[in-house]
Symmetry: C2
Subunit: 333 residues, 2 copies
């Protein structure tokens, strides 16, 4: 603790009243942010699912990323964790660590981003903490969701012979980061912007995740990279896997980038920040999965097969030959 | 997101396996930290209480504070919020943002501190996130507790005529911070060390908080300073208050400091970091409160009276004369 702060700095309580109380207005759990805690009553027959993720400037987002996008991405990476567990989001707690001198306009844009996504995802702010930091700004969000008791999708249930599926398209965010760092100059502007948008604003697969309860044998969201997260799924399930790289779903922008530089397949399969759901499902579930894809308007494709653990976790090309990667995913340290 | 990190840095997954998996071993909610989320089943007839607090080096703790103390204080300030709500702690989620170059020995000591307090408070780690930061290390903890439905103590229930009570002693932490910053040189070594310990390791009043369910009309924990937090309680309850400064409970070390410098009363009543419970209770509850103090071995004293809002929130001296303070508590910005 330090002595009372400089008078010219924005006042903590005024900041909370302006930025955050409106975000909590619709949620009785928040107690209007007037108390020390949130009070949540689980729905009858449901369990509570809790997840937390932090984002640090310069590590998880870029200093010139728009504030709205930073806020929305923070919320969405947590919602993506809930989606991959089959959970319905209910509310969230937010810790903002503002750098001294962060403009009030930036803070307001951050809150506006949250307000936008609260509408989209039917979720509200329940509580939090507002601190300052002499370092880069950082934000931590704890998301609370729920599932009917006993139905949470876990990482550990994949069985030998299961199909391996993934939602959406893979690699866009990793390529988008390259764009924002000045790479992929051979690509046209429209595709470059689209890829950057996929990096800045992931699309958590809430509807698909919920529909996969009782269908997926094991699931997680792709945040560290397709191959790394497949490795996590297999490790926890005690199995191996073969992924056919040619079946990994790519956007037209990613295909265009890959046509310019075939080496980008490594960034695509290893880059991370996709926030798509990777899951396994038993043979015989194909029709149900196709129905879920149609009903939730979520592309879902099969990209591989669960094998015995001794087989390892291997990407193969169209001819079934192993493909070697130098990096198999993002490591945080 | 940044490219894969330097090979010499500790590996995220190895760090989690060594430091955090043991802290989660006793809690089925944690799913052995192998999944993306924690899964919690509320006790029948109970509501879930959620609170989150962050600590940033140089703002909320000192760079040379021992790692064990930083970890334990982080846990305890959150437990103190639960205590003041009458909640029983169940588990917690932890985000650690480590500075590059933080020694593994410091991280291990941090985990040891958590292990110590997990035993004391019968709580376990349920999940979290481990990131790195180019700035000062910071830590965010989300604590989950529960209360029998409808019994959570809130800030907003104090009524005119209620007595105002506080647990423990007030001001030790603020004086302890002065000691750690080189102040209070006139005080003997034993008292200086004791006050520093009160700053570094608060004592959340779990037993008293739980026992006050159904007794206290309004409650919160003293973190911003006695007068500031009394102001919060009164503002939310729509009342005023008179506090008799002479009744505010002081430790013998605080009394000794005050004898050397009477001006320290301002740090004592305004300094914060006490993590005692400040509460209001209706007239006629005195005997029950005395019983709770005895049964939970928690000092509880009456320090004032709830007044109509128009009376304001005023400290008075032994003769009932108003006492003016320059600063009425810690502001975070």
């Amino acid at each position: 603790m330090t002595p009372p702060d400089k008078a010219e700095a924005p006042d903590e309580f005024a900041l909370i009243a302006e930025l955050f109380v409106p975000l909590a207005a619709s949620a009785p759990e928040a107690l209007a942010l007037k108390d020390d805690a949130a009070l949540y009553t689980a729905s009858p027959g449901h369990q509570t699912v809790l997840t937390v993720d932090a984002m640090v400037e310069g590590v998880h987002f870029l200093p010139d990323d728009p504030a709205e996008c930073v806020a929305r991405k923070l919320l969405r990476v947590n919602l993506s964790d809930l989606a991959a567990k089959g959970a319905t989001p209910k509310g969230y707690l937010l810790v903002t660590a503002w750098r001294e001198g962060t403009p009030l306009s930036w803070m307001r844009a951050f809150a506006t981003g949250l307000a936008t996504d609260q509408q989209i995802f039917a979720i509200a702010l329940w509580g939090g903490d507002t601190v300052r930091t002499p370092g880069p700004p950082s934000f931590t969000l704890t998301a609370v969701g729920e599932v009917p008791a006993g139905t949470m999708l876990k990482r550990g249930g994949a069985r030998v012979g299961d199909g391996i599926y993934v939602t959406g398209t893979i690699g866009d965010a990793a390529l988008g980061l390259k764009v924002l760092q000045g790479g992929l100059e051979g690509l046209d502007r429209v595709r470059r912007d689209w890829l950057a948008g996929r990096y800045r604003l992931p699309e958590p697969r809430m509807a698909a995740g919920g529909a996969l309860r009782g269908i997926a044998s094991g699931a997680l969201d792709v945040s560290d990279g397709l191959m790394a997260d497949l490795g996590h799924l297999c490790a926890v399930s005690g199995v191996g896997a073969r992924i056919e790289l040619g079946r990994v779903p790519l956007s037209s922008a990613a295909r265009a980038a890959l046509a310019l530089d075939g080496g980008l397949i490594e960034a695509i399969a290893g880059g991370g920040d996709d926030y798509e759901i990777l899951f396994a499902a038993a043979p015989g579930r194909e029709v149900e999965i196709a129905d879920i894809a149609a009903e939730t308007r979520t592309p879902i494709v099969r990209i591989g097969t669960v094998l015995p653990a001794a087989e390892g976790v291997n990407p193969v090309d169209g001819a079934g030959r192993p493909v070697a990667f130098k990096h198999l995913g993002y490591r945080h340290f």
